[in-house]
């Protein structure tokens, strides 16, 4: 059988349990950095309970996007994705009875994730030093800009602040002539560290399997980005700064973004000598320049290829790239990403039918696994939506007890503002999941 067919078959026929089935996570987090960790754990099959103080909870849900157009049936689209596959409970943890409910959830949990300013959750008895007494097997993750200790630990952070403090903004853009500073768009200062944290968490689970010991993981978003900044090494080895270089990868023999004859942007990167020589066999005027890799020469080579690339269509360049073995790919727009047939085939952009929100295009799982399929099963819910389900099934409370907690304000629900409401037309009496009678997906 053809290799590609063989692999397609094992991915398509993956039938096992998801890899993290049975792992229980309590999320006490807001915005992106914290919540993306449980999002990925839930994609891998973990059971995630997101605890929010009612009625507002995670503030990120209210941020206005695209002039208010970012809301889809009452919830923001990226919030729906970021908080998919989670159970939502609204607990007033500032009250003793609420705090005790959170503690009961923590006693059963394997992983706890928080990303408040250092010291905040300790005030409610939910810091690592407190929760390890309750559950010594707990893997507790604090995610913050700079970590929970050290001289900078008290600085506030958001992605763009973490970018500024880490130095990554100083790696991006142009130098000598164009003096502008660009934030790296779409908040990678949150998404990258949180993606890396998942490996640390699973490693900690593996360690706990051997030893029974939980631990504390103190994730810094700035340090996570610094892990990929070879600039420090360059600087210390040469005594010079590694200059910003726009679209040129300084590690390549030749690279850049070019405009094609049909008006498209295309990235070309000859990373190796062989790739350069192959490109030079097609593009004129760059033979003999290969081994010159100083900034000026990289620019000279870029300009030479620019003139040539502007006479080729995108398709012609892609064909050449395939034939010559040179990395060449288009700069895709959002729409091209969503409509990409390759992504549809892989399930990287997929249409799911959410029980409340109907058919929605969602980004698919981060990796594809041959033994254990990963899935986006349902999208975010407003604050407290799963109160009854979680308190009944996880904590074994009776319905009358849950009603009492609700009446006394220990638990609570959404406020109905844009970003924090069920879809229009939703009715409590018609929703068995809200009433705790059924799970989102019954297995």
């Amino acid at each position: 059988m053809d290799y590609f067919e063989y692999i397609r078959d094992i991915i398509a026929n993956a039938r096992g349990d998801p890899p993290l089935k049975g792992v229980k996570v309590v999320e006490f987090a807001h915005y992106i950095l914290g919540p993306n960790i449980p999002r990925l754990l839930a994609q891998l099959g973990a059971e995630v309970v997101k605890v929010e103080p009612p009625p507002r909870g995670d503030r990120w849900k209210y941020a206005s996007m695209w002039g208010g157009r970012g809301f889809y049936k009452g919830m923001r689209i990226d919030y729906l994705y970021l908080n998919s596959n989670k159970y939502f409970v609204g607990i007033d943890f500032k009250r003793e009875e609420g705090r005790r409910l959170v503690i009961e959830l923590v006693k059963q949990a394997d992983v706890f994730v928080e990303n408040f300013e250092p010291g905040t959750v300790d005030k409610y008895g939910l810091g690592y030093l407190q929760l390890r007494e309750v559950n010594p097997r707990l893997i507790y993750v604090s995610a913050s800009g700079y970590g929970n200790w050290g001289p900078l630990s008290r600085l506030p952070s958001y992605d763009v602040i973490g970018q500024a403090e880490s130095g990554v903004i100083d790696t991006t853009g142009w130098e000598d002539g164009v003096n502008e500073a660009y934030r790296l768009p779409d908040y990678p200062g949150d998404w990258l560290p949180s993606t890396m944290a998942v490996s640390a968490i699973i490693a900690a689970l593996i360690y706990r399997e051997r030893t029974g010991k939980g631990q504390y993981i103190d994730l810094s978003q700035a340090a996570s980005m610094q892990r990929f900044m070879y600039h420090f090494t360059y600087m210390s080895a040469t005594g010079r700064r590694l200059k910003r270089s726009g679209f040129v990868d300084p590690s390549a023999y030749l690279s850049g973004v070019f405009k094609t004859a049909d008006g498209k942007f295309v990235a070309i990167a000859a990373m190796t000598k062989a790739q350069y020589d192959a490109l030079a066999s097609a593009a004129p005027n760059i033979g003999g320049l290969r081994d010159l890799r100083d900034p000026e020469s990289l620019w000279l080579k870029y300009e030479a290829v620019r003139a040539w690339a502007s006479t080729k269509t995108l398709d012609e360049l892609l064909e050449l790239g395939k034939k010559l073995g040179v990395p060449i790919q288009p700069v895709l727009s959002d729409e091209e990403v969503v409509r990409d047939p390759w992504r549809a085939e892989r399930g990287s952009v997929l249409y799911i039918t959410d029980r409340l929100y109907g058919e929605v295009a969602v980004p698919g799982p981060i990796v594809k696994m041959g033994g254990t399929p990963l899935a986006v099963k349902w999208l975010a819910r407003p604050v407290g939506y799963h109160n009854m389900l979680v308190l009944k099934r996880r904590l074994g409370l009776g319905e009358s007890e849950v009603r009492r907690l609700r009446e006394e304000g220990v638990i609570g629900y959404w406020d109905g503002q844009p970003g924090n409401a069920p879809p229009p037309g939703w009715r409590e009496e018609e929703d068995p999941v809200f009433r705790g009678e059924k799970d989102e997906v019954e297995t």
């Binding site: 209210y62 403090e165 890396m196 490996s199 699973i202 103190d218 810094s220 610094q226 360059y234």
Partner: protein
């Protein structure tokens, strides 16, 4: 003892502590694919024993050709703690727990080391494939002989389309790259996560499995905007080097009197606080109105933006930071240079950046109390050679 001291104390004595992945054996066969090497590095920092197949092209990929001890900087950094093994000896090393294949789809298969062959012999093997377009499907086959790169990954993930300033003269107006290997970093992190999820599953099932990572998709499945924006707006977003292209507020960098600052206004009270700091509380209502008219009259936001940035330019960075601290929000920071960051004590004591003789190298982000991530110095084959 304060909370901070107690927490810092949890991380003392790192060298004497065990690693989370002790006993886990990994081999990476990466060629010049650095997403693959980064995946191996993450597992290595978490304590796995990592073998790497050396590659002359990979050694040569380095900023402006700078070599240290005969190898390029990325190779030096991503080679830390790894043992080199020639490709021909890999069969003798087997079985391992995790094999990371970065050569491109079908390459190892044609050498008899593909998943179909190895899984037959070693059913508990975790095989992580990391390539441009994955190891199955028409596109994977079509592009099987085109190598990957970070730049093309940032392009195909739709990331570069949002970065740069379209109003500059050509070609400076073209999409630009994130100045770190963001496409490769995301893909490497995804591969490590997939490998460990499979390892965890294997503790239960006893079986290994195949994990497929496509470098050209990871960034755009983790980031939700490339999919979410066209789904609700029915169109692509446009690059916005000034205000944030999603929030459409001053969540961005800006030029202060003496350098650049980062402004983090996300929710509306932060926007209002910021306008008060620059002495223009009147801007809040106008901004709100311009936001409501954004689709019909996008130029209104651009005009306001210009007004705001003109105000910011009147203040020094430190004054803005000070005012934001006094007010309690929004977070504002001076944009730090690499030189400034490199000298800061904070990153040294947290081992995010470590000093190895004359060299500064990235450490590890895995700050774990029981099983600290390994922040290693590179092994130099010869005394540090200045390039």
């Amino acid at each position: 003892m304060s909370r901070e001291e107690a927490l810092a104390g949890l991380f003392s004595g790192a060298e004497a502590k065990p690693s989370a992945l002790e006993g886990v054996r990994v081999v990476e066969i990466c060629g010049a694919n650095y997403a693959c090497r980064i995946a191996g590095s993450i597992l290595g920092e978490l304590g796995a024993e990592v073998y790497t197949v050396p590659d002359e092209d990979a050694k040569d990929i380095t900023p402006h050709g700078v070599k240290i001890g005969g190898v390029g900087i990325p190779y030096l950094i991503e080679g830390r703690g790894k043992r080199e093994i020639p490709l021909a000896d890999v069969p003798k090393l087997l079985p391992v727990d995790i094999l990371i294949d970065g050569l491109g789809p079908g390459k190892l298969h044609s050498m008899g080391l593909g998943y179909p062959q190895l899984s037959e012999k070693y059913p508990d093997l975790i095989y992580v494939a990391i390539s441009q377009f994955g190891h199955y499907g028409e596109k994977a086959k079509e592009y099987a002989n085109m190598p990957d790169s970070d730049l093309t990954a940032q392009a195909y993930n739709g990331y570069m389309a949002m970065l740069g300033n379209p109003s500059l003269p050509e070609p400076y107006s073209y999409p630009i790259r994130a100045g770190v290997w963001l496409g490769w970093a995301f893909a490497g992190a995804a591969a490590a996560l997939g490998a460990l999820a499979a390892y965890w599953a294997r503790l239960r099932t006893g079986r290994g499995q195949f994990v497929d990572v496509a470098i050209n998709e990871v960034l755009s499945v983790v980031h939700p905007y490339q999919v979410g924006a066209p789904f609700v707006l029915g169109k692509s977003r446009q690059r916005s080097p000034t205000i944030d292209a999603n929030l459409l507020v001053t969540y961005t960098t800006a030029r202060a009197k003496d350098g650049f600052v980062a402004l983090a206004t996300v929710i509306w009270p932060e926007v209002e606080a910021f306008f008060e700091i620059i002495g223009r509380p009147d801007l809040a209502n106008r901004w709100r109105e311009a936001l409501e008219a954004w689709e019909r009259e996008p130029q209104r936001l651009r005009e306001l933006e210009a007004e705001v940035f003109a105000e910011v330019a009147k203040y020094s960075g430190e004054d803005l930071v000070k005012a934001s601290r006094e007010k309690g929000r929004p977070p504002i920071a001076v944009v730090k240079t690499l030189e400034y960051v490199a000298a800061q004590e904070h990153w040294r004591i947290r081992r995010a950046i470590i000093q190895c003789g004359d060299l500064l190298v990235p450490g590890t982000p895995f700050m774990m109390s029981e099983t600290p991530g390994r922040a290693r110095c590179p092994q130099l084959p010869e005394p540090t050679a200045r390039a």
